[in-house]
């Protein structure tokens, strides 16, 4: 810009030339972004607005032409619908077991895989990841067999040490631990990302701690965990979002009935039923928006707490 003060006429042309280039570059760039922009508008933005609008109607698929605006009726109904509360409680009950377990187990496994005493780390990493590749429906069918009270191996193992095995899949209490255990077959991504995070922790930190006399447990909780807290945070966020979309395992295990006694009627399963069994699309849209608001609030709260416990080496 030093030239600008001396030769104002030149500046105009100089400025116009790059701006034309910049325009060209922006146009090319937008062209490349266009698949996503078009897709975002067609499959996300417009449907979101439409879904909000439909949540104020009694829209259904059989008689779309008879759709009427009914104001906030769907939302009032939602507050008085005992199944909404029940399915939310089911989801929360599951989340309270599955989310901590789904973080602690991959964290422990990553620490194990990161140990310099472990022989054949890559082999173990691959084999511990393996169940995460198993298609969810197949995995659910496998576990339905493993949890079987007569022929399943878990209860056979419990009986062989003299413990009475519970009726995992037909008990309103034991179904949640069972589902959480099934969920442990999907921790591969969390484990691999946590392991990668651990491998990035500078070894000087451990050397310094060792000089100060810290043991392995203290080093794990005072160095490893804080240093990989961004990865833990990322996985926590994803599992929180994922829990509210929990569907397939519950559906496959009980063929969508929500048995035993609505204990597997997860929020998303209830939404599915409202849509496809009761064909109440307007109400389903309202349920979906409630879900969105809940997930959004939880995410905001989570990001709010991040400042306290997530460590970022350099704020970008």
């Amino acid at each position: 810009m030093a030239i600008a003060a001396h030769t104002p006429t030149l500046v105009q042309s100089v400025r116009r030339a790059p701006s034309r280039l910049a325009l060209r570059e922006a146009a090319w760039g937008l062209l490349f972004l266009s698949p996503w922009i078009i897709g975002f508008l067609a499959f996300t933005a417009l449907p979101m607005i439409a879904s909000l609008v439909l949540s104020f109607t009694d829209f259904d698929l059989v008689r779309p032409e008879e759709t009427r605006f009914i104001g906030l009726e769907n939302y009032f109904h939602l507050l008085n619908d005992s199944l909404v509360i029940e399915s939310l409680l089911v989801t929360i009950r599951f989340a309270l077991i599955a989310i901590p377990l789904g973080l602690a187990v991959p964290l422990g496994l990553a620490a194990l895989l990161n140990s310099r005493h472990l022989l054949g780390r890559d082999v173990f990493r691959t084999l511990f990841y393996l169940p995460s590749i198993v298609p969810l429906v197949a995995g659910t069918l496998i576990f339905a067999g493993v949890f079987n009270t007569q022929t399943g191996w878990i209860n056979l193992a419990l009986e062989s040490v003299g413990l009475p095995g519970p009726d995992w899949l037909n008990s309103k209490t034991w179904i949640y631990p069972a589902l959480a255990i099934i969920g442990l077959w999907g921790i591969g991504n969390a484990m691999v990302t946590m392991l990668a995070g651990m491998q990035g922790v500078p070894s000087e930190l451990y050397d310094a701690a060792r000089v100060d006399g810290a043991g392995p447990v203290r080093m794990f909780f005072n160095i490893t965990v804080p240093m990989i807290s961004p990865v833990i945070f990322y996985n926590l966020t994803l599992s929180l979002i994922g829990t509210f979309q929990y569907f397939t395992v519950a559906y496959v295990l009980k063929n969508g009935t929500g048995d035993p006694g609505n204990a597997t009627l997860f929020y998303n399963l209830y939404l599915y039923k409202v849509m496809f069994t009761y064909n109440n699309m307007g109400y389903a849209a309202a349920l979906a928006w409630l879900l969105f608001v809940i997930v959004l609030m939880l995410t905001v709260i989570l990001f709010g707490t991040a400042r306290r416990w997530v460590y970022y080496e350099a704020e970008r």
Partner: protein, 358 residues
């Protein structure tokens, strides 16, 4: 997990002790890993064992965990059941020839010439002997009942076309984000990332209604077409990868008059094969796994359903036949598992890029 090494002056014995300690630590940690892995993969062993069992074995509670049938021995043209008989020389597997209340006659298959052996005791208290007997025909039966060939073709068609769409669109979009100055690009990128937390249900009702209106419900189109419009995860992965590639090469190509498309195809893509492979695998596995989409869009079209929905329906019908169910589970997971083993290095790198750098 880490042994503290004290800084003693070096001597032969302390060096020896340190080596021994390291050896013990290695043994303990590796053994722990093997034990945990066995527990973790136990359901797979259950699946394999169960899939090869005969249906009769499920009603026989004394049977072994592995696929087996009750053993018999043919003596003088007749078949006799084998039992585990406690004798003075330990438990023997003998064939029960003549049943008596308090004593029975057995024949020792290892030494039939010796003739009948009288055994004091109640034969009803004895356990049957089993021989290993895998029923491979369970797989052909399940294959036929499921019409697995059709399910496989459907799954491959949906997964592969979707993979092409994902790779194409995500490459273009990631290139746009990685290499071009666009006003408001950062905001657009943030919106892209924000779609990750958007529950898909929010857009489901109108999307389904529109697909129903234009006649796409009951076809593969809703499961394929949206993937031609890129998604946050894979765009993010490819963008991160493209950013690590040196700009000098594409700038040199630009100087030579290459269009941005040409640069993408001849400069960027050849360097990005690992990332493109990872994205292809991610989508392929995702599509193979997808249950909700096919469930709602293909509910009325069994002919078009993929494996995920097909085996769920099968499970509903054949729920009382564990060997059939486990055989279908194996068929459903075989291809992804083999692909994973073949590609696991590239695949894991992809997981790390999407998971750690965000």
């Amino acid at each position: 997990m880490t042994t503290t090494t004290n800084l003693l002056p070096f001597s032969a014995s302390s060096k020896y002790a340190a080596q021994l300690r390291r050896l013990i630590a290695t043994g303990t940690v590796t053994l722990l890993a093997i034990m945990l892995l066995s527990v973790y993969l136990m359901p797979m062993a259950y699946m394999v064992a169960t899939s090869l069992k005969d249906k009769a074995q499920f009603t026989e509670t004394s049977g072994p965990l592995w696929p087996a049938r009750e053993a018999t021995f043919t003596y003088q043209g007749r078949e006799y059941p084998l039992y585990k008989v406690p004798t003075e020389d330990g438990v023997k597997e003998w064939a029960l020839v003549e049943k008596g209340r308090e004593q029975s006659s057995f024949i020792d298959p290892a030494n039939p010439e010796a003739g009948l052996i009288e055994w004091q005791g109640r034969w009803r208290t004895l356990e049957r002997a089993w021989v290993f007997s895998p029923r491979w025909e369970n797989f052909s039966t399940a294959y036929r009942l499921l019409d697995f060939g059709r399910l496989l073709r459907n799954t491959l068609a949906i997964a592969l076309t979707g993979t092409i769409g994902t790779v194409l669109s995500c490459t273009l979009v990631a290139y746009g984000f990685a290499r071009f100055r666009i006003p408001g690009k950062n905001i657009i990128f943030l919106i892209l990332l924000a779609t990750i937390i958007l529950p898909p249900q929010v857009t489901l009702v109108p999307t389904y209604a529109v697909f129903a209106r234009i006649g796409w419900v009951g076809t593969w189109l809703p499961l394929i077409v949206p993937h031609f419009f890129a998604n946050a995860y894979n765009v993010f992965l490819l963008r991160q990868y493209f950013l690590t590639l040196p700009r000098e090469l594409d700038e040199a190509a630009m100087m030579d008059g290459a269009s941005p498309f040409r640069v993408l195809i001849s400069v960027i893509l050849p360097q990005a094969i690992p990332a493109l492979t990872a994205v292809s695998l991610f989508h392929f596995f995702w599509a193979w796994n997808d249950f909700f989409g096919p469930l709602i869009y293909l509910a009325a079209e069994p002919e078009l359903q993929p494996i995920s929905v097909g085996i769920q329906v099968f499970n509903f019908i054949y729920g009382r036949e564990p060997h059939m169910i486990q055989a279908t589970a194996i068929m459903a997971l075989a291809l992804p598992v083999v692909l994973f083993f073949l590609s696991q290095r590239v695949f894991m790198q992809g997981v790390v890029i999407t998971g750690v750098e965000k």
